[in-house]
Amino acid sequence: MSDPMTTLTTAQAARAEAARGTGPAPIAAGMDVEHLSAFYGRFQALDDITFPIHPGAVTAVIGPSGCGKSTFIRCLNRLHELTPGARVTGSVRLEGIEIYQPGIDPARVRQLIGMVFQKPNPFPTLSIYDNVLSGVRLHRPRLSRAEADEIVERSLRAAALWDEVKDKLKAPGTSLSGGQQQRLCIARALAVEPLVLLMDEPTSALDPIATYRIEELIWELKQRYTIVIVTHNMQQAARIADYVAFLLAGEERTGRLIEFDTAQRIFTNPKRKETEDYITGKIG
């Protein structure tokens, strides 16, 4: 993570921007999850999850359907609590700062920790251009035309979508193909300049080629962002992840962390029998 090219000037520039409230260029930031439990009413969906999310790396969360992967990732940006009756205990820290402590604004948490969902969900009433800006406009209501153009181009380029849509930015976001829509959603998340990007099975609704393009994109993005991705596809996890967390739910359907390690060790030399059974397809 320590970058030899780091210069004080770029860091200072980022901080100067931050001080102006215009947001910095994303700087990969780490997270720590400790003793995290999540509930839906009285049902406990997750129990005592603890593992670190390393900065500038891809962490994959794997496990059979219903083991609580989505619930877990939604706890990381405080989306879980929006479900009526849902509750979280334990600790999630971003850069050492507890995001569940009183006095933290959940809207700001979600600004710094972006999210992409399983089904592409561009806003149907907005053009491609306005979809990209939809999040930015929440935080910066007075955006000049030039700034807006620049953010749209930069975000669409970062999401590897620019060349395909640059001639039809005014077309509705929903007119794109599924894979393009998903990259539009990634661009929309990146435009807000988050530190961490959460992705919940971002390719499960896409065909193999679109999937491949998104995976390629994730490779590029991890240069600058910390990425947490939920996937039920072992090959995908093996291709893109640096770290892997394996969750499993028992009889009572409560998800627990079975093993957390580097992707290499999980896929070549797992310590736990359950992990091995799962990655070799014996369970799930």
Partner: protein, 324 residues
């Protein structure tokens, strides 16, 4: 703003931590503006809710108070068992049944018209009509819903009754039959549009699932769409009944003001609502027992429609849960 993407940078961690904290705690000026706005909106919403709750409490309080006075003079057993309603005569009886049966008779006739026609209209609009046809028919239905009820009342009295009298000579000038028929037409758009919404909410994938098994259009409609949207349709029906029970103008104009205990729709009767209109339009002095009767009747009506609305709400809720 720099144009090219920033390179990976690790700022001195203490600064970055401070920066993240500053953003997360939401204490910048934009945050404060936003927080003030959010709490202002919340206050406004709360106020709006308060107004309607306060109004409801006020209504219930007035109703309950006068009804309580009423039942100090009249036993509740008489009210619920006597079959005569003559509070305005010298020989006074306070049995709710004549008013209740009149309400039931006219509502039943109305529902016999509104339910089948409304359901058919909904099926036609949601499953069969081309988008263009639906776009012409729906506004027409909405016009039907927008006609003032007083117009429907005179329509029943001056057009439908004379028409029916050609076929049924013994039909009285004021009668439940034509009031019920016209009320049915009035309620039809409500049933049609609520049921149509319920049917449209059935996911296309369910229809396709049935088609893929070899079902015809009619089979898909009757075996998949209608059953899948049943609780929504039932909710629409119950709401329509509650509307019929509470309808006032049509019955006051076309059904007469004779509190008779009968199920014969060909003669004049008086519904609960019509009785309330009759007494409130007269010069019954405040505080008398005659005056209090309208609150007793009003409470009865209120309880009935409230139960119906609660039922409908339960069904709608169940229905919503299925497809979310």
């Amino acid at each position: 703003m720099t144009t090219e993407p920033m390179p990976a940078v690790e700022a001195p961690s203490i600064d970055r931590r401070a920066w993240v904290e500053r953003i997360l705690t939401g204490r910048q000026r934009v945050d404060r503006v936003r927080q003030v706005r959010e709490s202002a909106i919340l206050g406004l919403l709360f106020l709006a809710a308060l107004v309607s709750v306060a109004t409801t409490i006020g209504i219930v309080y007035t109703l309950a108070l006068e009804t309580f006075h009423f039942f100090q003079h009249v036993s509740i057993v008489d009210f619920l068992t006597d079959t005569q309603w003559t509070p305005l005569f010298t020989e006074k009886h306070y049995g709710i049944w004549p008013l209740l049966t009149a309400t039931i008779v006219v509502s039943t006739i109305a529902m016999l018209v509104a339910l089948p026609l409304g359901l058919l209209a909904a099926i036609g609009l949601s499953e069969y009509a081309s988008p263009r046809l639906a776009a012409t028919v729906k506004p027409i239905l909405e016009i039907l819903a927008g006609v003032p009820t007083v117009v429907y009342g005179y329509f029943a009295l001056l057009f439908v009754t004379p028409l029916l009298q050609r076929f049924i000579p013994q039909l009285e000038v004021f009668n439940a039959l034509s009031a019920g028929l016209v009320m049915g037409i009035m309620i039809l758009p409500l049933v049609a549009s609520l049921s149509e919404d319920a049917m449209r909410a059935v996911p296309q994938s369910l229809r396709e699932g049935a088609y893929a098994l070899g079902a015809t259009k009619l089979e898909v409609v009757w075996r998949v769409v209608v059953p899948s949207s049943l609780s929504g349709i039932v909710a629409a029906f119950i709401l329509a009944v509650s509307r019929a029970v509470g309808e006032t103008m049509i019955v006051a104009i076309a059904m007469g003001q004779v509190p008779r205990f009968t199920l014969n729709p060909l003669v004049a009767m008086e519904t609960m609502t019509a009785y309330i209109v009759q007494v409130s339009l007269g010069d019954t002095p405040h505080g008398t027992i005659e005056y209090q009767t309208i609150f007793a009747v009003g409470t009865t009506l209120f309880v009935i429609t409230m139960v119906l609305n609660l039922l409908s709400y339960r069904f709608l809720k169940r229905f919503r849960e299925v497809y979310e």
